[in-house]
Amino acid sequence: MNDTAPASAGFYTEDMTISVGPQHPSTHGVLRFVVKTDGEVISEAIPDVGYLHRSIEKIGEKVTYHGYVPYTDRADYLAAMFANQAFCLAAERLAGTEVTRRGEFCRVIACELNRIASHLISVGTFGQDIGAMTPFVHALRERETINNLMEEICGARLTYNYIRIGGVGYDILPETCSRIAAFLDHFEPIVDEFNRLLSGNKIFIERLAGVAVVSKEDAFSYNLVGPNLRGSGVKWDIRRDIPYSIYPELEFEVPIGTAHVGVLGDSFDRYWVRIREMQESCKIVRQCLSMMPNGPAIAKVPRKFRPPAGECYARVEAPRGDMGFYVVSDGSEYPYRVRIRTGSYTAMSIIDKLSKGIMVADLIALIGSLDVDAPEIDR
């Protein structure tokens, strides 16, 4: 921090500049931070994004509405279902298409399973960032089962292309429903086991409690969304507050940070919100399975889908927070503009503020606790 000592001393100290990433074990993809450190203490960490830019927004102007759905998968490949749904919501609202009721249930089941899978990756890799290797493998083992279920539902394991305009691509079969129920019976005890192994661990708590605290005001002013916002104690969930799909009919809680080990809004709270969201998602899927009506899974949508001229912004609650698709139509077969708003991109902006004065190891914990995801940042 001392750029120059008095010249009479004859020598001086200067900050060391380290490039964390784009290839670094805990930046989860290609992220880069230019970090200035004084020994182990960080004085500045500037995020450098753009290594994974794939022009997904521009591609939206070149393909039809139906054809764009597979591209939205790639916006956030850990939670592809939500980008599908957000884009389809926008297109349906533009055209006034009604989604079939069974289609809505299929959507919610697939989305919540996807949320569990995404949070499993998040908490697992978070444990690995802190140095615990076993929880990561256990989390991935459970995610593998979800991938199998997803394969059964829609034929793909990562980029689903399941939710289509007007409904879903394939109906969820009764035997798949029973397998999903069996998985939930299996998974809920595993969450408790995970808590015994990792969440209650003294070292883990010591590493996270009180580290990188985001106050409520900061969370608002830096536009944090999703679990990061809820970790700071704000009860805000798109599913509850700007309801879409069948969420108003379902009962679920919105977990917020509890500060039971540290300060409200610290890294542990953000982690803990994700753990409890997985349990809430289990509840939601169970309700959907029991309430699932019969009927067609997808509405009749014209092959040449031409919404009237206008614009629409649709948002869903993705695992990384509020995901929005802004679609402008000029009445043709192709969207005039598509813009995507994602949670990780705004979460990156607060890292610069939070990283001042923390240690290198804490920066890794901070990145992990914000659950930033490289594909979602750059699109």
Partner: protein
């Protein structure tokens, strides 16, 4: 060994060669034999075992392709690494860079000189055995600093600096904990310490008094930290420092660091066994009396099993715990472990003035406490195994 060489010289096997040259060659040959026959398989098999144990805890399979159950995996890895390019970065200080792995390796290898595998299986029973071990393991930090500095990489430098601070700090509680035993035994010689104990658990120094019992765990914790093991593996914390001081290394030089790490695990167990757990002492059974070979084997196996038990514990710890932060690591050492070690040392010194009868009672109580802890642990393990649902873990759905 020396007697054997002397005999050969007397028989005139090396006529015309100066005595010193013969001794030097013999020493080099012995070192090579020890290295290739004992240390390499030991470190190698430990690496395989760790991967298998770890894999089982993580519901994976682990290496199982080379040889039965994959036991030869370490050999395949070694050959692969030997054949790889030995890359030295252009910006590195080439001489120091190439030298560093050998310094680390030497620091670990030299400890094998005084480790007693049996009553007659020891290279040299130095009268300063423990001091020697503490001294040569400090060489490791020189090697790690060299690697960190010479790599000319910021991650390596950070790793090297962390490691220097960590190892130097943790030598203090480790040394103080070992000093307890020296006080009781009245000697620093490894064989002397073992001979001061008996084969039965109540004769072990571990249960001599409550302070030594505590000192043992202090030593084990500090040794894990000195050996860069989780939860103290911050010098090579791969999620923070990429690979710490080994970031720039490749091929066999890279392997030498890990060779030393895995071999060091065994050294930790061996030192703990020697000082606290009665070493190679076996019950004086009649069948050993006229059969020195059988006795030697029994002693070796006893020592090996006791030492490996602690290697296993280190593996479990690694599979279970996250990593502490560097300032927490230092706080743990200087705020808690050093004062506690001093208290243990003072307590042990105090116990040397306790009358014999009272001392026996306290020893028995310590042993009883340890047994109670073990029983509770085993009951918990049995409870967990009974209540475990293996179908949850071993056969994922669908």
């Amino acid at each position: 060994m020396q007697a054997f060489i002397d005999q050969l010289i007397q028989d005139g096997a090396f006529a015309g060669v100066p005595k010193e040259v013969v001794y030097a060659i013999a020493m080099v040959l012995t070192a090579l034999i020890v290295l290739s026959v004992f240390v390499a398989p030991l470190a190698g098999v430990t690496s395989w075992l760790e991967r298998r144990v770890w894999a089982r805890m993580q519901s994976r399979v682990g290496p199982n392709r080379v040889g039965p159950q994959g036991v030869l995996q370490w050999l395949a890895d070694g050959i692969k690494n030997l054949l790889k390019e030995d890359l030295i970065p252009a910006a590195a200080d080439a001489k120091l860079f190439s030298l560093a792995p050998y310094v680390v390796f030497m620091g670990f290898l030299c400890t094998f000189v005084v480790i007693p595998f049996g009553s007659s299986l020891i290279v040299a029973d130095l009268n300063i055995g423990i001091l020697y071990i503490l001294a040569v393991t400090s060489l490791v930090v020189v090697g790690i600093l060299m690697a960190g500095w010479a790599s000319n990489n910021k991650w390596s430098l950070l790793g090297g600096m962390r490691s220097a601070a960590q190892i130097v700090s943790y030598e203090i509680p480790a040394g103080l904990a070992l000093l307890n035993v020296v006080f009781i035994a009245g000697t620093m010689s490894m064989q002397g310490i073992i001979k001061a104990q008996g084969w039965a658990p109540w004769d072990w120094f571990l249960f001599n008094n409550p302070f030594i019992f505590a000192a043992f765990f202090l030593y084990f914790t500090a040794a894990l930290a000195e050996g860069n093991r989780t939860p103290f593996d911050i010098p090579e914390a791969e999620s923070e420092l990429v690979a710490g001081y080994v970031t720039e290394y490749s091929g066999m030089r890279f392997l030498f660091f890990f060779f030393a790490e895995w071999g060091n695990l065994y050294v930790i167990g061996a030192v703990a066994t020697t000082l606290f757990l009665g070493g190679w002492q076996v019950p004086p059974l009649p069948m050993f009396e006229d059969n020195p070979v059988l006795l030697g084997i029994a002693e070796f196996v006893t020592f090996f099993v006791k030492a490996y038990m602690w290697v296993f514990v280190a593996m479990w710890v690694r599979a279970t715990l996250p990593r502490v932060r560097v300032d927490q690591l230092m706080a743990l050492c200087w705020k808690y472990m050093v004062p506690l070690s001093f208290i243990c040392l003072l307590g042990t010194i105090g116990f040397m003035f306790v009358p014999e009868n009272l001392h026996r009672v306290i020893s028995a109580a310590t042993l009883g406490f340890a047994v109670a802890v073990m029983v509770v642990f085993l009951v918990r393990v049995v409870f967990q195994i009974r209540n475990a649902k293996p179908e949850l873990y071993l056969k994922p759905h669908i």
